[in-house]
Symmetry: C2
Subunit: 204 residues, 2 copies
């Protein structure tokens, strides 16, 4: 299999984004993380903060809200909820960047959105709570108090969004070709392991 696209799904704080960035550097691939949010912003007119919040973390509450409040929508949205509208745009943009090839895409259910392609390697990065909490405090400057709870809330939101749109369970190993625990393996080793895997696959 020739790997043209890599998707990275990750637990918050696991170093998944860093793994993705380093893979892109090593392979000469484009790296889509905030770049993807910018593309969605350009397409929709919503600002990046709004897309970050509503997009990947659209949760059960937004579904409830749309039931109780009626579905708010703007011109191009054709009666869809904001979250559903963003989901549609995201799908289109992720499929477009994959079609160009040579890219690493972080998050946003890209593993699911690109499931029909045969040139995509789906990676999941996770780690134990302690490793993630330490990393978040150190790298994002978050206060250490309450960090484990904040982490769980973020994980829950991500998982809810994922299962809402994909009908799969986030973190189920069967969704990914390679799942790695950076808490035990280390972030740099995770990068090496994926690069070795790609090399082995492409030798066939």
């Amino acid at each position: 299999m020739k790997v043209n696209v890599i998707t990275i799904s990750r637990q918050f704080g696991s170093g998944g984004r860093t793994v993705g960035r380093k893979l892109a550097e090593a392979l000469g691939f484009k790296f889509y993380d905030s770049e993807l949010v910018k593309k969605i912003s350009d397409e929709t007119g919503f600002n990046e903060k709004f897309i970050e919040d509503k997009g990947e973390h659209s949760t059960y509450t937004s579904k409830l809200a749309s039931i109780f409040n009626g579905r708010q929508s703007y011109g191009a949205m054709n009666g869809q909820s904001t979250a559903d509208y963003l989901w549609g745009i995201e799908n289109k943009i992720i499929k477009d960047v994959a079609e160009e090839g040579g890219c690493v895409i972080v998050g946003r259910c890209s593993d699911y959105i690109l499931r029909e392609r045969t040139d995509v390697l789906d990676i999941y990065i996770h780690a134990d709570d302690e490793f993630r909490a330490n990393r978040i405090v150190r790298n994002y400057g978050e206060p250490s108090e309450g960090i484990e709870k904040a982490m769980k809330v973020k994980d829950k939101k991500r998982a809810t969004y994922y299962s809402y749109y994909t009908e799969r369970n986030f973190g189920d190993a069967d969704n990914y070709h390679i799942a790695l625990d950076t808490g035990v393996l280390g972030v740099d080793n995770a990068v090496k392991i994926v690069l070795n895997a790609i090399e082995a696959m492409e030798q066939e």
Copy 2:
């Protein structure tokens, strides 16, 4: 981390046992699969077929049966159900072989049983249904008719046993350090990937 023990959890037909055997050969490790069943047989007096059926595949029905029928037990079992008794023996034997070190253990919740050790690498091997069905028909000489259903039944039993004794979900990536899809990566590449990972971890 110095890896002294490797546990292999696997979907039926994914090639997980083969991955384990090849890892053991490459590393000069002992390989515990049917050898483990033999040890349990020696310890308990139950025959190997009974242990295969009752042990790893003890399911909800055996729990129900023990409620309706009363818990059948023999001398050493101290009023435990057969499945609980076997679970206790299995725990002891798996901890003993891990203590000796230099081994690969297939299945039997060994990832969970050895969770307190810091020298264990937990691997999960899975693959898509088509890959597994073809492998089962080819390697085990099973008839291809009804194979997907038989596969699902076996997966379900294994998952039920696992979650009954561990309170975890079988196949949840967070339980394992490395999870690999042999359907896409191939069995031999899965072996290479794990060997590379061990080399990288031991260089630290």
